[in-house]
């Protein structure tokens, strides 16, 4: 399986995402093949990267939309199809309405043609392949691979998203890398830990395992994130299959070792957020500010739930048990919505069991100014400053000058889009009635209307509204559902044309739809 499942490659701070559209299946496969041959798509086994025998300088991950898989010549096995949630895409009108994405028409890139019928002008925005290139220094390409071109490689770049390394900070003592998002909050703190897999970058790895009483709250069966493995229901996660994949020596289906990847490019209006912060100052120093209340954590990542007493471990707390009324961490706070911990169900154990059914492995990074990438960034992400050297409070005054972070390139992995990502997004984050509330909005979700946020307290708490500077702070500008195949499946995709067995099949096979396409090349190793 791709190492991306178990690690966000945080030790490789320079990262760029390519959203590609397949224009010529055979050439595109050849390019993917070269990427594979160069060895930059690592297997989970080599983790942790920095402790490998030879330090890894460059790593990559490759994922495909349903349309991308089809465009590359794969055919769904009718006996084991893809779930309709994935094959329909994130932007089909029903799905986007359910997810609350009302501005899909304005997105920069999407994962499928929006309308079921013909006649829409978004063909140029449809991404088929998502490639993430992670390296120690910006601008590095793996040996023998160049950025794809529409002409030579059959892959047109729909969008190139450069991330901003200034938001990653390496803690020299623990060896952990932490991410801060453009509003200034530490992000990616609460991650599920896959049972049985080395927890490379996640909680407890540095300290040799967390001893907190709540440590098991985050321990999740591998089938929640890796297809074909046992999930929280005790069943193997469903594996879709494609025609021609199963071989005598490999009885596993195509989906085995793969997972689904949700990507959302979320623009963050930092100026507006700063205005809001200035308007709603903390009542007294040492108490959380309104912004921190809305997020549910202090900016440094410390949880607001501090009873019975504050702990060192940033994840050692529960809501139902310590803060049911929301007097510490408001009931509509972002962390409460995104990971309700023990809130669901009828008691703490059932609540934890229930929330384990809806966990996400987050692999997000902060993206920079569009198109220009690191070159135009005047901040520390221009490649001159090592990530470890950033000062302690690096982002205190960001917003007007300095680092180029525009928003979050949200990436999440899960084995069941409907049960995991969609529940979190539509039922928890975007649900104004989450957790017994009546009309509260999550800070991360754009609503397009007057926003409210209530802060519980005595005697009856207070409510923030537009008059407090509350407005939409985020806008989704791109998104899609991708399938992150296992390495074997990835090789199968790349080898499609070179395979002897299933090739002669007529019909919508690779290259068949394009009579002018050159004959499939024998090998993809020669650069164009």
């Amino acid at each position: 399986m791709q190492a991306f499942i178990s690690s966000g490659f945080a030790s490789l701070p320079a990262c760029r995402y390519l959203l590609l559209q397949v224009t010529d299946a055979a050439r595109a496969r050849a390019w993917i093949g070269r990427l594979l041959d160069s060895g930059v798509v690592p297997n989970v086994g080599i983790l942790p990267l920095k402790r490998a025998a030879t330090p890894v300088q460059c790593a990559a991950m490759v994922a495909f939309t349903f349309g991308g898989l089809m465009a590359l010549g794969l055919q769904e096995d009718p006996a084991q199809p893809f779930p309709s949630g994935f094959s329909g895409g994130m932007v089909n009108p029903r799905r986007s309405r359910l997810l609350g994405d009302d501005n899909v028409d304005q997105w920069n890139w999407v994962d499928a043609a929006q309308h079921d019928g013909p006649g829409e002008g978004r063909a140029g925005k449809v991404a088929h392949v998502l490639v993430g290139i992670f390296s120690a220094e910006p601008g590095v390409w793996p040996a023998s691979v160049q950025a794809p071109t529409a002409h030579g490689d059959g892959l047109e770049i729909v969008r190139e998203v450069e991330t901003c390394r200034a938001y990653l900070r390496l803690n020299e003592a623990s060896g952990e890398t932490s991410l801060t998002e453009p509003f200034g909050f530490r992000d990616g703190i609460s991650q599920p830990v896959i049972k049985g897999l080395r927890a490379a970058d996640s909680r407890g790895a540095g300290a040799g395992g967390s001893s907190a009483s709540t440590a098991d709250d985050d321990l999740v069966e591998p089938g929640e994130f890796i297809l074909g493995y046992i999930n929280e229901y005790g069943e193997p996660a469903y594996c879709p299959d494609v025609k021609g994949f199963a071989q005598a020596d490999n009885p596993h289906p195509f989906g085995m070792n793969g997972t689904y990847l949700v990507a959302r490019q979320i623009y963050q209006d930092v100026e507006a957020f700063r205005r809001f912060e200035t308007l709603s100052r903390a009542a007294s120093p040492g108490r959380p500010s309104a912004a921190e209340k809305m997020m549910g954590r202090y900016k440094c990542g410390r949880p607001l739930v501090e009873s019975p007493f504050p702990t060192e471990d940033l994840n050692d707390f529960r809501f139902r048990q310590f803060d049911l009324e929301g007097f510490q961490c408001p009931r509509g706070a972002h962390v409460r919505r995104a990971n309700p911990r023990d809130l669901l169900g009828s008691d703490t154990p059932s609540g934890i069991a229930a929330s384990k059914l809806h966990r996400l492995l987050r692999r997000g990074r902060v993206y920079g100014r569009d198109g220009a990438g690191a070159a135009s960034c005047s901040g520390p992400c221009s490649g001159k400053t090592a990530p470890g050297e950033t000062p302690d409070e690096p982002h205190a005054g960001r917003g007007s000058a300095g680092a180029c972070g525009q928003g979050l390139f949200f990436v999440a992995l899960n084995a069941d889009l409907e049960r995991q990502f969609e529940i979190v997004q539509s039922r928890w984050l975007a649900n104004r009635r989450f957790n017994d509330l009546e009309g509260d909005d999550d800070v991360s979700v754009p609503t397009g209307q007057a926003r409210h946020f209530s802060i519980q307290g005595l005697p009856t708490g207070r409510s923030l509204g537009p008059e407090a500077g509350l407005q939409d702070f985020t806008t989704v500008i791109g998104g899609g559902y991708f399938f992150l195949p296992g390495l074997r499946a990835l090789r199968f995709i790349a080898a499609g044309a070179r395979r002897p067995a299933p090739e002669p099949a007529p019909g919508p096979g690779p290259g068949a739809g394009d009579p002018g396409a050159p004959a499939p090349r024998a090998s993809g190793t020669t650069p164009p």
């Binding site: 779930p83 029903r94 359910l98 046992i230 469903y238 069991a353 039922r427 005697p459």
Partner: protein, 675 residues
């Protein structure tokens, strides 16, 4: 009863009219707006939905027309006639357009109120088992309380804006002025309506449930006994023919049941046969014929036999009495066992000290001894019938060790000891290792990872569109499944099983579980089951909060056993879609085993714990709605919170009048206002 709040009007319609219904109710069609207005104006409908269900798939009868379904959730205590009358009155032209082709000829050419109302009432049924999340509330009440809550919230904000340091009591007092006499909120001076069962203490509710469940159970038992007697009669007559009179009549020695029981038995046997045959065949002619023959046979033949042969009469009376007594004894023992288990489960650990255990022993002693005596007596008498009395008398005398005890007490003692041991085991399980049985249960209830492949979750476009349409509102689902042809033990019809189970659940939910919690699924507004098409299919419909996938997850987590008990008697047979863009032809190609309920263990474990297969089954059983009405888009929490505020304001008022403080009410008011 809550079931009466959920009406369903079902009628076959011609295939081409199904398309017309669809077009009339298409998004943006004028009929939708008109219906919305009409139903809002009527003010008694919480939710409504119109759908066209696929036909039941009857090949021979030619009755495979699609079914027009109008589903209603109405105010409590209305009654079918009143609700349908109101429906016809508020939406006469709209419903006429939809329903006229389904009405029996002659249909008046123009909309006619009485015709429509009568037709609606004739096709309407109440739920076989229904669940209401916020019971005993009218639409009006929900709206009024919501307005009160909104105003109260605004009042609190204003008060707080003027002065930050208010206490809860002061703030609550300022809110209380909202419900002053003469204001639009003065309804809140009256407490919210609650029905008898909601007010009653737990013991009364348990008693009520026991009476409601036990009385019909006794009735059914009598019916079964009558059946027994009926067959006993045949046995005695046949025996007399083969063996001669003497040996058979000897059976009657020592037992003298009343003739009344026998007569009752014959009558009830007839009724029973009528019921069973009706459930089985649903063809009036056949069942009428069967019953007529049986009743004639029993009514004419038996008395004449009795007159002709008085001794034979006595003998068969005896036999019937035996049957009755034996069945009573078995039923009594089973009931005792069930009661023991139920009580042991129902009582929470804190109440079960050693003293509690001692009380238990005493309480259980009496009925157990009595029951064991009874059963042994029966066994002895049966033995006497078979072998004559002498050997048994010898047996009784030949128990030297227990000489001072009659043999009955030996068995009674053994039974008692066993049951006490059982109680001790159960109790100590609760007291010392509560998790042990739970763990065992959980292990039994966890799927084995035997199959390498799961089942793909494929949702039909029309279902997805339904769900997208209802974003931010109360969600809705319709599930139609076919009853399996064979029910429990291979002989009991599935329809009968489901009817009995749904009836039992509905009594329990009315009397005992009045708080409106279905397992742990708290977001259900109105959910109901009914058998349709003469017991061929099960219709489940639910108005719930959240997404369908999450709803199904709640089922798995909180109500899997109940879900299994009901749906395991169903399956999905291929069916013709009611219209081209609706799901039909299940199980869908490519979705393995979607047509079967996942395998269960012990009848109630596993099953829907196989998440992928369960979800695939549920998805495949769904039918999209064409039109949907909701009187409000409030969550159960919102509704309950508003009622709680109202009651707290009233409590605060009463306390103020008495010059007392109302700390609880103050806090309730504050919590209701905070979000």
């Amino acid at each position: 009863m809550a079931n009466g709040q959920m009406l369903c009007i079902l009628a076959p319609i011609p295939q081409d009219h199904a398309q017309a219904v669809r077009q009339a109710l298409a998004l943006g069609a004028p009929l939708r707006g008109a219906l919305d207005q009409a139903l809002h104006a009527a003010g008694i409908f919480h939710f409504a939905c119109i759908a066209v269900l696929p036909g039941p798939g009857l090949k021979e009868g030619g009755q495979d027309d699609p079914r027009l379904m109008i589903e209603l959730a109405v105010d409590p205590h209305l009654g079918v006639a009143e609700a349908t009358q109101a429906l016809a009155r508020c939406a006469l032209p709209e419903l006429w357009q939809l329903a006229a082709p389904a009405m029996p000829a002659p249909v008046p050419p123009t909309p006619h109120l009485e015709t429509l109302a009568q037709w609606l009432a004739s096709r309407a049924t109440i739920a076989a088992c229904g669940f209401v999340g916020t019971p005993e509330r009218t639409v009006r009440q929900i709206h009024a309380e919501a307005a009160l809550l909104a105003d109260a919230r605004q009042r609190a904000r204003q008060t707080l804006a003027q002065d930050h340091l208010r206490t809860s009591a002061e703030l609550a007092a300022s809110v209380c002025t909202l419900v002053d006499q003469g204001s639009i909120h003065d309804f809140a001076r009256q407490p919210a309506a609650r029905n008898f069962w909601q007010r009653a203490p737990l013991c009364i509710r348990l008693l009520g449930a026991a009476i409601k469940l036990v009385l019909p159970a006794v009735l059914i038992a009598v019916v079964l006994l009558g059946l027994l007697a009926f067959f006993g009669l045949g046995a005695v007559v046949a025996g007399s023919v083969v063996l001669g009179f003497e040996p058979v009549v000897r059976v009657a020695l020592g037992v003298q049941p009343g003739a009344a029981l026998w007569a009752m038995g014959v009558v009830f046997a007839g009724a029973m046969v009528l019921w069973i045959s009706t459930a089985l065949y649903r063809q009036a002619l056949l069942s009428a014929t069967v019953v007529a023959i049986l009743l004639t046979g029993a009514g004419v033949l038996a008395p004449s036999l009795l007159l002709a042969f008085p001794a034979a009469g006595q003998a068969l009376l005896a036999l019937a009495g035996w049957g009755a007594a034996a069945a009573f004894g078995v039923a009594l023992l089973a009931a005792l066992l069930a009661a023991t288990l139920a009580l042991a489960v129902a009582l929470a650990p804190p109440f079960l000290g050693w003293r509690g255990l001692a009380i238990w022993a005493v309480v259980l002693f009496v009925p157990y001894v009595a029951a064991s005596h009874f059963v042994l007596q029966l066994a002895l008498d049966a033995g006497a019938a078979g072998f004559g009395l002498e050997p048994l008398q010898t047996l009784r005398g030949a128990l030297p060790v227990w000489g001072w005890l009659p043999a009955a007490d030996l068995v009674g003692t053994i039974l008692l000891a066993l049951s006490l041991m059982g109680v001790v085991v159960v109790m100590s399980g609760f007291r010392f290792g509560r998790t042990l049985p739970e763990q065992l249960l959980r292990r039994l209830d966890r799927p084995r990872a035997a199959r390498p492949l799961g089942t793909a979750l494929r949702t039909h476009v029309s279902i997805e569109a339904n769900e997208a349409e209802l974003r931010g509102q109360t969600n809705h689902m319709i599930s139609v499944t076919d009853l399996r042809r064979i029910g429990p033990f291979g002989i009991v019809p599935a329809a009968l099983t489901l009817r009995v189970m749904l009836w039992g659940i509905s009594i329990l939910s009315t009397t005992v579980f009045t708080k409106g919690l279905l397992g742990r699924a708290a977001g259900i507004h109105f959910g109901h089951w009914r058998l349709i098409d003469g017991g061929r299919r099960l219709l489940f419909s639910s108005n719930f909060e959240g997404s369908l996938g999450g709803y199904l997850d709640e089922f798995i987590a909180g109500a899997s056993q109940g879900v299994n008990l009901i749906w395991r008697w169903t399956e999905l047979r291929p069916r013709q879609a009611a219209m081209p863009d609706q799901p039909g032809q299940m199980p869908q190609p490519g979705v393995a085993q979607a047509g079967q309920w996942p395998p269960t263990r012990l009848g109630f474990l596993l099953g829907c714990r196989y998440e992928q297969r369960f979800k695939a089954y549920a998805r495949a059983s769904q039918v999209p709605h064409l039109y949907r009405f909701a009187a409000y888009a409030r969550s159960n929490h919102d509704i309950v919170r508003a009622t709680r505020l109202r009651n707290a304001l009233r409590a605060k008022l009463l306390a103020e009048r008495a010059g007392a403080r109302a700390l609880v009410a103050d806090d309730q008011i504050m919590r209701a206002l905070e979000s």
